[in-house]
Symmetry: C2
Subunit: 505 residues, 2 copies
């Protein structure tokens, strides 16, 4: 993807209603994006695909807990103390910067996790000054990245917007474990908003202050970190970027099959390896090519306060390089122990069949939804001569079928509207378009990734047949109108090859 | 529903995982509820049903904008100034009360919208004192009911959690109108969280501080308030509780057909009447009986600052009386004019076919999701002798099929698990249950509203047939295993009567 294509893509995404900056008429606010009509549909399609895997396929329980969370919960979880970013403020103009970003911009150094003192030192030694006014910086300090508010009148009860959906699951452990009838491993998911009060977000959709997360928490007996379905993924190939290679400045990836990675202890256990593989399958499923997926092993200074092993699934993009889209963290018993201690509740699990009591360990595959959304757009946007095509997987496409009258006369529009209505009544996302030439309408449909276009022409009025055009091949077939919903559904599910869907033209 | 049944229902809802108070292990926080695994599934089913009507059926555009909203937006919309509750604080113990609630509790008087002075007067005249400590109250004052926070470091940029999803739509009007290719009426929806910092919420799920909303905004030319599909609903009967009857202390409802209500100007125009009827159809569709639905006309002092005519759809409940679940407000051009003025953007619409420029008027059907959720539970909970049945509409039921082995031996559990897996692979929400007797399992399934239960018995091993039991009639039929997914899907869609689904037993 060239620079021009990138600009074209983002311009298209705004113009056609995928995404645009929020609060635009008020000059916008960094870190916030709106999903327009097409974006909202595509985002829902990504969420559906994730839910199909985790809830339908893996049988995880789904819950829905508040985004607003009282202080006690996030104090116990460690977020009040550790969910911070090192920040500096210009003494002259007051502009605030995330210390790591500032240092990276000015020196290229990655000082993530090195501590405030080290950052202070670099700023001083390199003479880094305010990019806005060249003023001097004050001390580096910790800025808590949670949005804070008061619950109820006054400021007695402090609350925060949740930094992750996970805590809502941990504090419900007792109820959930009873619901699962005491069976381990137990999987629970939550899909919803998460918040991070970024100091000065740039990077568009990659660094958002409000984002959608899909998090899964797998609770298991630490003495039995086996996964019952591990054999299903045992031979999946994974590209790992090991911590030791990162430290050595080595970009090379280690390709392993899941089974070997566990045997060699490269990945801590079967459960972790299972979800790495499942994550890869999800990312492939939404249309990310295999070569653009890697798993980065976080080194200790990069890991969150609760994690003892973390793998980040990353997607390669033209615009932002490798982008973290899923974090797979071994949270051990950190959260359950912390909440048990702070609340006084017993959060251990009695395993009936083994007659023993354990505090579960947790492995968490935590997915962002906005970042993969962006990555899918980038990886789907292609140019074929003059044609611009968003080669979305059919199940992600916001519009499934464009419906056109060949001409805007002779009763063709009326017939086409009738066809569109019938498709909609059958729950197919159809869109009528009668503006400009048919060629222009095909282009518009290609641009937003619509897999099929149906055209009503004069022959339709005679024999009740219409043409279907395939986005990727531009081939066309002619089918009978009454079979249309059924044929389109089969095509969308890849049950029949396009050529066999009707009479080739 | 008796008092005992009410308690039973709420106890069941917690125990079985529909809903429970949030942050329970920390003593809870008033105004917050968690949706457990069953509740979350049922809530998603209600949302799906709503989306099927508004997005698939009516063709509304859906967007998704942030919950966090900068000050400018909510200042312009009037929420910073008018989204307030009259509040009093005890001078002695500091307890805070919503003045209207306090006065209603102590005197039975409804002083909603009467102004702070009047409330002050009542508190003084009736000698109302603090229910907690009998202390004296201070002055009645306005408490802004939005949760406030700061965006970015420092407190320079004030933000609020949105009190409604609607503002995200209004400020995107230009982009949306372009997307709709300049056609009116244009409908746009948003589904997501809304927030209201209630002073002292009681009433469980009815008065939440964080809730899910599904809002629709219908933009139209004020000179043309016709609805193109009005004839579809023209003969729908509506029960209206008119403002004049409320003022006269008269409980009687006026039954009218939609068409007559518009002709007689009881309802302002076709668009408003269309959405009253659509709301009623939605509520009927989720299982609320017709007699438990009414539309209350708000009188001027009850209406929000932006509204010139409002109808509240209300559902009758045993526990809370009539509960408002949908507000249908005529917002006129209030929001577009306010935002145009505050932002300097032209938010008028050029209507191509009429060659004229208008500022659209807006009618807003705004649905809560949590309240109908509660109402559905209450209206579905029934007792038939000893049987407790949640008679949920099949499409709302969180579990569609229970799968049981008749006995826990002879290979029956293995076979039943196989059946469950096959159903799940076919995207049917199936649940395996092998604990206790089959009778107990039927009871448990009835209690959570599972429409069908499949039992694997010894005959299954011989001829590959299983029984299906119908929740409501308790009748059973025997069918072949390989036909099971197909038959269950037909049953769930009401395509075949139960008796014809297989061989009666």
């Amino acid at each position: 993807m060239t620079k021009t294509q990138e600009t074209e893509l983002m311009e298209m995404a705004k113009r056609r209603g995928f995404i645009w900056p929020s609060f635009e008429i008020y000059g916008g606010a960094a870190g916030f994006y709106d999903f327009g009509p097409l974006g909202s549909a595509m985002k829902n399609n990504i969420i559906k695909k994730w839910r199909d895997i985790y809830v339908c396929g893996e049988g995880f329980l789904e819950i829905d807990s508040p985004t607003l969370t009282p202080h006690e919960v996030l104090k116990a979880s460690g977020h009040v103390d550790h969910f911070t970013d090192a920040m500096v403020e210009c003494k002259k103009c007051g502009s605030a910067f995330k210390a790591t970003d500032l240092i990276k911009d000015k020196t290229g150094q990655d000082v993530e996790g090195l501590g405030k003192e080290k950052m202070q030192e670099v700023i001083k030694q390199d003479g880094i000054r305010c990019p806005d006014c060249a003023g001097e910086f004050g001390e580096v300090f910790d800025f808590n990245a949670m949005f804070k508010t008061a619950i109820g009148p006054g400021s007695k009860r402090v609350g925060y917007l949740r930094p992750e959906t996970a805590q809502g699951i941990f504090i419900d452990f007792k109820r959930l474990f009873r619901h699962a009838r005491g069976k381990l491993p137990m999987g629970v998911v939550q899909i919803g908003k998460g918040y991070r009060n970024e100091i000065s977000p740039r990077q568009g959709m990659i660094r958002l202050r409000e984002f959608t997360m899909a998090e899964a928490e797998v609770f298991f007996d630490p003495e039995d970190p086996k996964h019952p379905k591990f054999s299903d993924v045992a031979h999946d190939h994974l590209n790992l970027w090991l911590s030791k290679d990162q430290i050595a400045g080595n970009e090379k990836l280690t390709e392993v099959v899941a089974e070997t990675a566990v045997d060699k202890k490269t990945i801590c256990n079967e459960i972790m390896a299972y979800y790495l593989a499942l994550t890869q399958r999800f990312l492939l499923g939404i249309g990310i090519p295999p070569a653009a997926i890697r798993f980065r092993e976080q080194n200790p200074r990069q890991r969150a306060h609760y994690s003892s092993e973390t793998w980040d699934a990353e997607i390669l993009t033209e615009r932002f390089g490798w982008v973290e889209v899923t974090g797979l963290a071994y949270r051990s018993d950190y959260d359950l122990v912390s909440h048990a201690k702070a609340s006084g509740e017993d959060l251990s699990a009695f395993i009936e069949e083994k007659k023993k009591k354990v505090v579960c360990h947790v492995i968490e595959p935590s997915y962002g939804i906005d970042r993969p959304f962006y990555c899918v757009l980038e990886h789907s946007y292609t140019t074929d001569g003059k044609r611009k095509i968003l080669k979305l997987k059919k199940d992600l496409a916001p519009v499934k079928v464009g419906v056109f009258p060949l001409l805007n006369k002779d009763g063709l529009p009326e017939k086409a509207i009738e066809v569109e209505k019938a498709l909609k009544a059958d729950c197919l996302a159809a869109e009528y378009d009668a503006s400009g030439t048919v060629g222009r309408r095909y282009s518009r449909a290609d641009e937003i990734g619509t897999p099929y276009c149906v055209t009503v022409d004069h022959q339709t009025l005679q024999d009740l047949t219409v043409t279907i055009r395939d986005r990727d091949s531009t081939k066309q077939v002619r089918v009978e109108v009454h079979e249309l919903p059924c044929i389109l559904k089969s095509l969308l599910r890849d049950e029949i090859p396009f050529e066999k869907a009707g009479k080739p033209i």
